[in-house]
Amino acid sequence: MLSKLIKYDFKALSRVLLPTMAAVAGASLIATLSFLFTEKSYSSANNGGLATMLGGLLAVVMVLAIIAACFLVFFIICAHFYRNLMTDEGYLTFTLPVKTSEILWSKLITAMLWTIISVVVIGLCVLMFVGLSTAASGDGRQLFAQISDALRQMFALFNTQSALIVFEAVLCVLVMLAFSILHIYLALVIGGVVSHRHKILAGIGFYFVISIVVSILTAIAQYYFGSSLIGGINGMGSVIFNPQNEIEAANQLVSAAQPYYWFSIGFTAALDVGCFYLSKYFLEKKLNLE
């Protein structure tokens, strides 16, 4: 049943987010081509100042469009969760022969997938704009050469240690992304349970309340466990950074940071679990759809 829930949640989000991403990609392409065209036209007419100004203006417009798209993605994910569970649609969702945990998993997985898709699309758009708009100049070619050189070096050094770093980084991003989504979900659920007339407003209020609770928990965790973890990193002062042993220094740095890194991942994962089960509890035991 989870796969069916994911199918319909993904369909509901894609209906709005797919055109949004297509619009972002289209706007980026138009902005990039316009930039290249204006720069070429005005540069050839010896009017470099105007070209720079227009280019800057297009860059600003594109940045604003990307920020708007980010907000739209965030808003649509929250609105879908709220509409599907806390409004009349909830009568359908909660009478399906599925577990509440499956409903939450479906909402979480689709939200994470669409966030990742949006980040990739927006990242590629930015890369296209920066890359193509600077490609004509020597700076652009130099930039690309440096990036490809860095990537080549990175892959050359790729070993078990670097695989671990990549794995940790991916895991860290995933648990933090899950927390940021579950945090919003929990706030919306509690807001919907507590208030019958101003559910969204209550949800926003509870978002900040949960943030404060999480900050207190983080401070307590750092107070009790932080000092022992930082000890290892302090020891890094003895490592001499020079081109000859930079790999060794990097390895030592990574090794020293391991406990802190895993503690952060574990702590965030615990927050994920907490938010998930609290949301499940409130949806199962306390929610009364009006």
């Binding site: 359908l92 022969p97 759809l289």
Partner: protein, 232 residues
């Protein structure tokens, strides 16, 4: 054989307000039963508890011997008094949705009923009138081969001409081993299809009897008896 719906000392309170106070009832299979009572008597709360939208404060409620949960939800076909289908879906999307989640959904029956009611299958829910949305919902709910149908105000929003079709649909589409519980204020319209009726007030059963027995014993229709019992 266990009752289709069974309540034992069922209580539900919303803060200090008691919606159901120690309700006991057993509904048999193969009956169309009217759940009738004045506003705020606990009808919708009982239905929500039976389909797992609410949890009891005390006591227990069982559907075919099972407490509300994933298994019981597969046996219950619920029609709320709200329009609960996603507005972005087309009527066909809604049928696909029901077919995906309910193994007992009869797709062909739904198509046939929608055609009889002249509901356009390609139309999006948001473009339909309130009455047509209610027809779509009722068709979807009655196209399931469920054990218990819970219909909360099924004919409240449709025109009188469509009411007869809907009531015929209800009678002709349920199996003999199923139970239909209908909550409504339009008693005169539905009483011809009722086998039994339940009067509920202040969260307690006031009367539970067969409509034939009422006519024979008291010589009254359910509507007349309702007005007598709940006279203001």
């Amino acid at each position: 054989m266990s009752a289709t719906l069974e309540c034992r000392d069922l209580k539900k309170s919303y803060g200090p307000n008691m919606a159901l106070s120690g309700l006991n009832i057993e509904l048999p299979a193969g009956k169309i039963i009217g759940l009738l009572g004045p506003n705020g008597s606990g009808k919708t709360t009982l239905i929500k508890l039976a389909c797992g939208l609410l949890t009891p404060t005390e006591g227990e409620i069982k559907v075919c011997g099972q407490q509300p949960g994933t298994e019981s939800k597969a046996l219950v076909s619920y029609l709320p008094e709200r329009t609960y289908l996603p507005q972005w879906m087309t009527v066909t999307d809604c049928m696909d949705y029901f077919q995906d989640f309910y193994p007992d959904f009869d797709y062909q029956r739904a198509v046939s009923m929608l055609e009889s009611l002249h509901v356009p299958a390609k139309a999006r829910m948001k473009t339909l009138s309130k009455g047509t949305k209610e027809k779509v919902q009722l068709v979807l709910v009655m196209s399931r081969r469920a054990k218990l149908y819970l219909l909360d105000e099924p004919i409240g929003g449709v025109d009188p001409a469509a009411r007869d079709y809907i009531l015929n649909t209800i009678i002709s589409n349920y199996c003999e081993d199923s139970t239909i519980l209908i909550s409504t204020h339009l008693i005169a319209d539905i009483e011809k299809v009722l086998d039994e009726f339940i009067f509920i007030q202040n969260g307690q059963i006031v009367s539970y009897a067969s409509t034939d027995a009422l006519r024979e014993d008291k010589g009254k229709s359910v509507d007349e008896y309702f007005r007598e019992v709940f006279r203001c």
